[in-house]
Symmetry: C2
Subunit: 422 residues, 2 copies
Amino acid sequence: MNHSYDDTTSALRAAEHVDAARLLRSIDALATIGARGDGGVDRPALSTLEIDARRGLIERAQALGCTVSTDACANLFFRRAGEEDLPPVITGSHIDTQPTGGRLDGAYGVLAGFECLAALADAGVHTRRPLEVAIWTNEEGSRFQPGAMGSSTFVDPARLAGFRSVRDAAGVTFGATLDAHRTAFPSLATRAPGAAHAFIELHIEQGPLLELAGTPLGVVTGIQGVRWHSIRCTGAAAHAGTTPMRVRRDAMTLAVRVRGEIEAFALELGGDAARITFGSWHIEPNSINTIPSTVTLTVDFRHPDPAVLARFDAALAACIAHHGADVHLEPLFEHPPVHFADSAIARVRSACDALGARSQPIVSGAFHDALHLAKQCATAMIFVPSRGGISHNPLEATDDADLVLGTRALAHCLVELCNEAH
Amino acid sequence: MNHSYDDTTSALRAAEHVDAARLLRSIDALATIGARGDGGVDRPALSTLEIDARRGLIERAQALGCTVSTDACANLFFRRAGEEDLPPVITGSHIDTQPTGGRLDGAYGVLAGFECLAALADAGVHTRRPLEVAIWTNEEGSRFQPGAMGSSTFVDPARLAGFRSVRDAAGVTFGATLDAHRTAFPSLATRAPGAAHAFIELHIEQGPLLELAGTPLGVVTGIQGVRWHSIRCTGAAAHAGTTPMRVRRDAMTLAVRVRGEIEAFALELGGDAARITFGSWHIEPNSINTIPSTVTLTVDFRHPDPAVLARFDAALAACIAHHGADVHLEPLFEHPPVHFADSAIARVRSACDALGARSQPIVSGAFHDALHLAKQCATAMIFVPSRGGISHNPLEATDDADLVLGTRALAHCLVELCNEAH
């Protein structure tokens, strides 16, 4: 091969060949598969609906001259050949949804990847490295828990054995759905897990920050760390009419106090970047005329700074200890903050700049497949604004112009990464 | 008849003939019918278990020379004849229980009434008026809602038609169980609703006040008034990780604030006598990583003073109005305070004094059949202490000595009332 791989020219040419109408039509088309009456989408992971959607995308990729492969976790890879035998650059996301999901979460990243494949073809752009669009399996975690099974097993294949026995609400194992997927697509090649040069995931923000700032593109520098806990507050059930206030042990009174204390130190320690949520509550006996005996509430604390997370852990332990035996803490889950690769972040930022588009750094508050890919290769993300910050909701929406701009930035960035020698 | 009805002598003689061992044995015996493994009792209203218990008490009353009658709501009346044709004095309570009930709630009042029938017979005491022990149907309201169907229809028979179509959790109508009760006891006479001279109900306190004061007998002067409300607080569901604190509309944050405001003015208006409880909570979507969109909580406010209840109503309306459209109030139920008849209260107090027993006035925090009888005739109650204030619980207990003392006070009081000419 004797190309010079003129990044700037070919990357801009690819971005210019992004076809707005084709992109938006593809989003509309995918949203018909699992469409809800309210404009949302309900497309469970590896359901008949998702298999149908995958079949359509396989046919589209083959028509674009791509090869299609799958792996042991039913991830799909749509590969546009490169000119050298080097690890590919991967983009993509997922096409499973929440039960009351919208049409963009995940689907936008996959379809923008397809639009890039088409734009590169239209522009006649050839790249040094192969470009792959991935559909990662079961990102949402709505049908099978935990989420992100596909991307996490791509990075750590040993996890798959444990996932196969997980059952959905109807009792179907994840393993059985993987086998059915293989049967549905018998002719696909098998892709080994392993080397990837870089991963770029384009996604809606799912929060209000870009809209509030009036910025169309977010250069995602990482993903917040998270702590999930369950707190059980114990009181004593007693008759609402006969029990004087001074002798009550009301578990809800205790829970409200504990909630207030945790919220106060979470905000003090974490400042503007802190996210503290008490989302799930279970009250016993939950009767109008009985004083609550037990209240169990959940804590979701997120912050991008590992030092803040550590200080939160210490403050929480002290708070629980202070309340003695009546308050019990059970840690449920934690994940450290992820900082994306500076090289990949720089590629995203320069793509925005090259298009003359305003962008700003942003930390992702939600998890994404990129959380796992970041352990494997240089990874970053691009965000576009979510109207009203709404997500996981049929009302989820992004302005068409932002959807197109995000795809142009993705195309630019992918071509630059695909032409990296090292 | 030419008795002089020497109240003081015959009332004391009746009290002295209360047989502690017989009383306690009868409580133990009834507690075997519907016994739970944990020492409690589960005896649903008009269940096979309760029918069995009624059969045993009918046989016992007939052996004591009493006549037994029933009415259209399956209330049972065990009547010891008086010497004049005057309206009877009634005592008694109920023998249905909560699903996780104790052995004393209701049953104690009925069995103490039976002990009085036996004590009067043993003492050879004759009374001017008849004495009736009543078993009121479905007081707890656990199987069929609302509670106190028997005593409320005795006072207001027109209510029965509406009650007959109420169904239990298995779909059985209250009317069908009334018919089955009539079939089970075909030979019983039918008692008309109507005239009663007085009603005295002996009951466990179900609260801690007598125990805290070290007083064995409570002279119940009335029953608190109550307000039940449901309050719906509306926010907006959003992602726990992506939504900054400053743009959140967390329905639980709002609900906690509203709860605090209501509690504050309830205690300020009501002082030591106020009882304010937020017992039932429903949180949506109740997910660990989603900000609550809707929280519905219940308010149970009780106070013996109608003026305080009225001021609470006004303060609550102002509080809800202040929060605007995000907070919605739905009244569920209310009942004014009941003040028992001074004449009946005086009879209870003088019975305690005649026995040399310490007593104190007390307002009932719970509802009882006496709430309804008070509309019909001179009504009062006697309370004995509840250990730890515990009730509606298998751990419900009262010291044997207090159970016996309460029964002696009841016997004294009943004889005095039975000998009243007017």
